[in-house]
Assembly symmetry: C2
Homo-oligomer: 395 residues x 2
């Protein structure tokens, strides 16, 4: 008996679909309706007083909720709109110092993050060093470690790679980075909520991620963790919320707030922060350890079901090297994915990787069997629209 | 008979308070409840498909709604979280070129905006030139014009100054800036929704503002207008939404989208964009010309009521030099404001300026009379908490 299935009733979409896409957009908790109503009620009854009654502090108080999930101490996490912006804020704290101007990343990083570094490297102030992957699934640890040297300033890495769901050895990379004086920025977007970890134990310098995926918090609520040893940095991407006394409306120069608040900028996206909380609370109540135990069981099952059918699996076989998703590479994957969607089996497709399928704590084993049976049927009968065969897949 | 008062029933807070703080947080339209429910319904029933069914395009489609209010052509406005970030995005398009490295601003700008420029000027690459004000109410036009020279790169100015509600001569400043090859970034936060204008007619290079105030859209929905002549810029604060083919997940270098989409970054704050729309629609339906006509009448009335009581008014007397707010400077203004709030008369206070009082299209003349009568009573009876006398006022 799978006790986690009792949570199914909290997620309306599970009544209508086989929802296997939590690596992209996690299912919405029913309680999100109430949160959004609470937001509107505060605005409609308290008006401008809502700011002093909680809104102004929300990027910090909601950040503390995320902190519990990612093993961060209170007062070390702030909320922002998305990870790309978090990375811009982090990078804006740094100037290249002499030869220390290298940013080392792997070619399997989420590109959005690297676009930020590339844009800032264009004028020659930073150098970008790309570590290649042989198979598109993993990046050889040795290659990452070799690329990190005394000239390295920042190492932005993903905890779990978005296409293949491969888990990276964060501890080894962080140890190497710190040995040579480089800093690690960990993207935990694809791990928080499905892989138990602690940013404190991993000893990374920064961590960032969003709520769209395993945290079931929806868009607009990304988090930025900054290790307390970096609470004296001065981000250039800034604004009045980062000021020590924002309501003094003081002229420049900027006087930064103490602690994590200095990593804020202008006014927050309050409704997104309201909407995100129900997901965090459910994840916290269940506990990520339990979610992970079930995830390992179900991703193993998916891999077995795929291999029985002769499908290529682009995800590591060993549970300890794998996140919450199984990527299955079939011919005409984009078109097959569209047909699965038409049949209310919700998955997605990434070029160069395949169909991404994700159970979460609310998934029943039976749903995985149905999904794989339908996938097999679609492939064997070629029951997908020919005109869609070459098309990209959006979300 | 004031036909605009028929809109009162659309704003729940007007049943409970005398709401005179639309320069800070505009009243929430009742329809915002439905918008937020529509957001949750899309997530709860369509799941990840909601992105392809409208969410992904929302920063542009909602931007087009704002464009109608600020006189911008379609396809020139994108939505972001707040103005400070918009300014970071704009600045990230530029490098100082030789001697052209000056950023000219007035000391009455909203400080959050200038914190961004100051932070980027710290390493000496940009120079900040501050134009002083004699009276804290206006900035002498001549001084602004003199400060703008051939070494000037950017001129960030407010259309309406946040403390005094003075209207600036944008056309004169823009003409001068363009004569010498400088660019103008217009902050229309305190004008959009209460002052009719067109960014096209004003010929500014960029405009930005948010929805928290006169637009009645709430937090998290700021807009960035970029004149089409600058649609070839390449912001360094960026992300996958700014990419020509975001769903190709291509490695760097970044390939920017054509047009306004290149000024996006990572994923948008969807619930904030849903919430903001009802306000835009109401403003558009009424028309800003009508709102302005009523605003001039009611701000004149407020000034008269204040002067009759011997209060100092820190807002220009001439309607054509004034935005939608009247700032009244009384002794112990912060404490007096708290007492007004306790009596459900919702205004705010800014140090160095005074109590800010704003009628909007939904305000009844009678409410202004009541507010001024209460203000007079509180001042004459000193009916405010002594312990609050020196305190700052938040929001």
């Amino acid at each position: 008996m799978d006790e986690l299935l009792s949570w199914r009733r909290e997620f309306p979409i599970l009544e209508r679909t086989i929802y296997l896409v939590s690596h992209s957009l996690g299912a919405m908790p029913r309680a999100t309706y109430e949160r959004l109503q609470a937001y509107a009620d505060a605005w409609a009854t308290r008006g401008v007083r809502a700011w002093a009654e909680g809104w102004w502090e929300m990027p910090l108080t909601v950040g503390d909720l995320v902190a519990q999930i990612i093993g961060a101490p209170p007062g070390t996490v702030v909320m922002h709109q998305n990870v790309s912006l978090c990375q811009s804020i982090i990078l804006s704290c740094f100037e290249p110092q002499g030869k220390r101007n290298k940013i080392v990343y792997s070619e399997l990083e989420f590109p959005s993050v690297i676009y930020v570094y590339e844009a800032h490297a264009r004028d020659g102030r930073f150098r970008l060093v790309r570590v290649p992957s042989d198979d598109g699934i993993t990046v050889q640890l040795e290659r990452m470690l070799e690329a990190i040297d005394e000239e390295t300033l920042l190492v932005p890495i993903s905890h779990v790679l978005f296409k293949s769901s491969a888990l990276q050895d964060v501890q080894a990379i962080t140890r190497r980075a710190h040995e040579v004086g480089a800093l690690v920025i960990l993207d935990t977007y694809q791990s928080a909520g499905t892989i138990p970890f602690s940013v404190q134990e991993l000893d990374v310098d920064f961590a960032t991620g969003g709520s769209v995926k395993w945290l079931c918090g929806g868009p607009g609520a990304a988090y930025l963790y900054v290790h307390p040893r970096w609470h004296d940095l001065e981000p250039k991407v800034t604004g009045w919320m980062a000021h020590a006394e924002p309501f003094a409306f003081a002229l420049p120069p900027m006087r930064y707030a103490q602690g994590i608040a200095r990593f804020l900028h202008g006014s927050p996206a309050i409704p997104a922060l309201y909407a995100a909380q129900s997901g965090y609370e459910i994840i916290s109540r269940i506990g990520v350890e339990k979610i992970r135990a079930k995830s390992i069981k179900q991703t193993e099952m998916l891999i077995r079901l795929a291999e029985e059918r002769g499908f290529k699996v682009n995800t590591p076989r060993r549970a300890e090297e794998r996140g919450g998703t199984v990527t299955i590479d079939v011919e005409h994957g984009a078109a097959v994915t569209r047909e699965l969607l038409r049949r209310e089996i919700i998955v997605d497709y990434r070029p160069g990787a395949g169909i991404r399928i994700s159970p979460h704590f609310y998934t029943a084993d039976e749903e995985l069997e149905i999904a794989m049976r339908e996938l097999e049927r679609i492939v064997s009968t070629r029951a997908y629209a020919e005109e869609a065969m070459g098309a990209d897949f959006r979300f």
